[in-house]
Symmetry: C2
Subunit: 189 residues, 2 copies
DNA sequence: CGCACTCAGATGACATTGTCAAGTGAGTCG
DNA sequence: CGACTCACTTGACAATGTCATCTGAGTGCG
């Protein structure tokens, strides 16, 4: 027997996990409230006990994705044994990895509605701070780290977007996403 | 009295225009086949005479958007009176402008389904060629123009995505999208 | 211990949507 | 002029997001 609040929290978690799985498997169109409920072991109307509407459920998925990236960056920020440049490379490689392994989730993380949900904004902000800390270690000057960090973040986002949309063809551009990332890192400072 | 083929072509054009308008006004969710039909002056089933499904209609909207950008670049490529760098700046400013004025259409242009439709791919490819021609004029070396062009294209795409998703906050990054664009251009070569 | 209560979740219902089969009428061609 | 073609309309259906209502298991008070 579980307490009612535990059970409700577990259900909420199961709903977000189910939505994330469906998103990864079949894109945003596959995230049906009925499918989410079924996978989470509840009925189709259950999400409305935890989220005002479907958009908020997706925002929760985006939030969790940002938090996952943030946790990954946590260990990188703390690890002072590696040189800063290497930590930055690892951080960016991690982002690229999410973009490639979970393209639908990645697109969701960078889509507009996310910004309208405070919990999502907080998760994004925290993760950006982690990232900025790493960039600052590379640059030295914390003041200049912010614009340059934005440029790098935008660059990575653009590289992944072009990869995932099929616009980054090797014949046309004579370059791979990884090479672009290396060019991007090389132009820091 | 108009010939049947003219009338059909006009209807197809009206459908794409209506879909584009609805997309700009209310995002992709507002693009309902019924709404598209109504605005185009036809019924809800009319699109099926011109497109196999809704996705192909949206692909046609994306294609038209790419072609519009391509035409804008046409004049820039032809205009040898301006210095190459200025032409590149104007080209990128034009892209940024589309991203800001028509955020939903811009997102559609860089979304995955587009790549699966041959006519869309052709329009994108043609526009990318225009862009590469301008970049090549700036760089000098046509071989190096391709990777650098990809980096710039990805950068612009990323800047717009961060702007439109609300992630490019001035407080966090201490920079504007336009400033990022200038940084990006400054790092060419 | 027992009972009324709360609230997470279930269920029925409804409007909207994408999609297709069948129908229709205006342009087209012999 | 009559048969035909085909762009478009209309009716229908399944799937979906959403809400009002219901139900039963955990909870607090006596």
């Amino acid at each position: 027997m579980v307490s009612r609040v535990e059970s409700a929290a577990a259900t909420r978690r199961a709903l977000v996990d189910a939505a994330a799985e469906l998103l990864d498997e079949g894109g945003v169109d596959a995230v049906t409230l009925r499918a989410v409920g079924a996978r989470a072991g509840v009925s189709r109307g259950a999400p409305y006990g935890h989220f005002p509407d479907k958009e908020h459920l997706l925002a929760a998925v985006a939030t969790k994705s940002w938090e996952a990236v943030g946790e990954q960056l946590d260990t990188l920020v703390a690890d002072r044994s590696r040189p800063p440049t290497e930590r930055l490379e690892l951080a960016l490689a991690g982002l690229m990895d999410v973009g490639r392994r979970r393209p639908h989730a990645y697109a969701l993380m960078f889509s507009a509605p996310t910004a309208e949900h405070p919990e999502a904004v907080a998760a994004v902000s925290r993760t950006h701070d982690q990232f900025l800390a790493i960039v600052a270690d590379v640059i030295g000057d914390p003041q200049r780290a912010r614009p340059i960090g934005a440029l790098v973040m935008a660059g990575v986002q653009g590289i992944i977007a072009m990869e995932n949309s099929g616009h980054l063809t090797a014949e046309k551009w004579q370059v791979t996403g990884d090479e672009l990332l290396r060019m991007l890192i090389g132009r820091i400072g």
